[in-house]
Symmetry: C2
Subunit: 310 residues, 2 copies
Amino acid sequence: MSVQVIFLGTAGSIPTIARSLPAVAIRRKGELTLFDCGEGVQRQMVRAHLGFNKKMKVLVTHMHGDHVLGLPGLIQTMSLLGRTKKLEVYGPSGLKEFVDAIEQTVHFSLTFPLELVEVEDEGLVCEEKEYQIHSAWAKHSIPAFAYSFVEKPRPGRFHPQKARELGIPEGTLWGQLQRGVAVKLKDGRVVNPEEVVESPRKGRSVVYTGDSRYSNSIVKLAKYTDLLIHDCTFDDSLRERAEKDGHSTPSTAVKTALRAKAKRLVLTHISARYKEPMLLLEQAKETFPEVIVAEDFMRIDLPRVDNVIK
Amino acid sequence: MSVQVIFLGTAGSIPTIARSLPAVAIRRKGELTLFDCGEGVQRQMVRAHLGFNKKMKVLVTHMHGDHVLGLPGLIQTMSLLGRTKKLEVYGPSGLKEFVDAIEQTVHFSLTFPLELVEVEDEGLVCEEKEYQIHSAWAKHSIPAFAYSFVEKPRPGRFHPQKARELGIPEGTLWGQLQRGVAVKLKDGRVVNPEEVVESPRKGRSVVYTGDSRYSNSIVKLAKYTDLLIHDCTFDDSLRERAEKDGHSTPSTAVKTALRAKAKRLVLTHISARYKEPMLLLEQAKETFPEVIVAEDFMRIDLPRVDNVIK
């Protein structure tokens, strides 16, 4: 069961022929999590065959138009298609006022519950049975969040042979042990899960910075992440401009990746000035080889890892 | 000097892989007039190499999201690119409230004057030296306009040979006659413009219906137009559905074109259900051969006509 990351929009603030405005989807078990919602996202979703009726969350990093103006059209299209499932949208303060204003001035009627949640601080944004989403403060020209999508650990590998050797009958007791619960056998012996189950296995994680200059909070959020998707609006020769505008360059992204010990790095939010992103890649690759520059419709599969948690 | 019509978005309410949301540009003498402003229009303009710094007017037919949600992003991008020229936006009641709401909730600062004009009724919308834009009521589920772009007549052809035969010296007098003003020669004779200038020549015109079922007002607006761009959301088998939703089918568009004596007809606002628009074309072509179905990035050049006005 893979976690797939689909880059729907990889442009900076202005779209180009090749790049749509910011949006990154995570697909897991038929469910979608969308980081940012730039203009055109609904059409990018059509092109990527993602569908409009899945269980879905949208996480808006900040209220700049290029990161949120795709939301009204997405909501309208979902309604036109008769969606009935709830849509959850998270974002910084101002999100509700924005959606309210659109609803009042552009005529559409919702066919589904729209749950708007304003994220107020760093921390847990939402919790599902198998994953969590966390936020951290980014450093941009207006309040902005970075988000992480983190699978919960999976139970460790169960050893049926060991269970049989200990005389535990197959059935409900095995299930309890797999869920980490000690069991008492008919003969009075107590078997602890550790005797037949390995340590829990790490879940996968993806971190999306949105727009940000270097931020210690993001390093913390991205600790040991499998995939760090980082703002890289400018190349290193424009470091001062990036700093001033609250954006990053390859060396900022690499610094974050190294400090967070991230496994892989993807550079995105590429300014329209770079027709060919080779320059950005070269500047990053020197010190962090596991880096690529995002392209629209690029997909990255994160396979299950069997690493046990030490 | 051509008038070029560029189809930037030809979809119905939901975009498809091939069709972006409604927007049609008219390019004339380096100036742009945009009918409707569906989500994604700024990127379609990038793809069509239209630029963001031209003298420009936007005419929104009605306040449904699929016709207006491209406006905020267009304005933001123009500001990011440092536009200084005024942008004029016309649309029905509700336009100002919509743009105000966006300005207040999504952070961008304008670098240029934005002139918002709410069109209240049928008639002259705006007048330039060489053309006018008119509105007519469309018939849709909410108040909606159709618009026409109409060049003013050009002065008739001037005959220098005739002027010489009449003994009129080349120079300012020729100019006056060309502008339709009678002149008095030194010998006291008066020459009327008709003696050396043919009748004025018709300007070109384009009519865009926006979303509408059949409307007599649109027929009147489209009288003798060179190009009628008509709603054709559904095919004729879905005539009742179209009627109910305030949309048209090929036979509605043809009826309008025939009654208006339009020269050419383009069907647009094509529902996502038609992967292949052949059906729509066939239903229209039977009774109106000069018809095509719009495609994104299709361009139609309207050459100058030398027809004199009778």
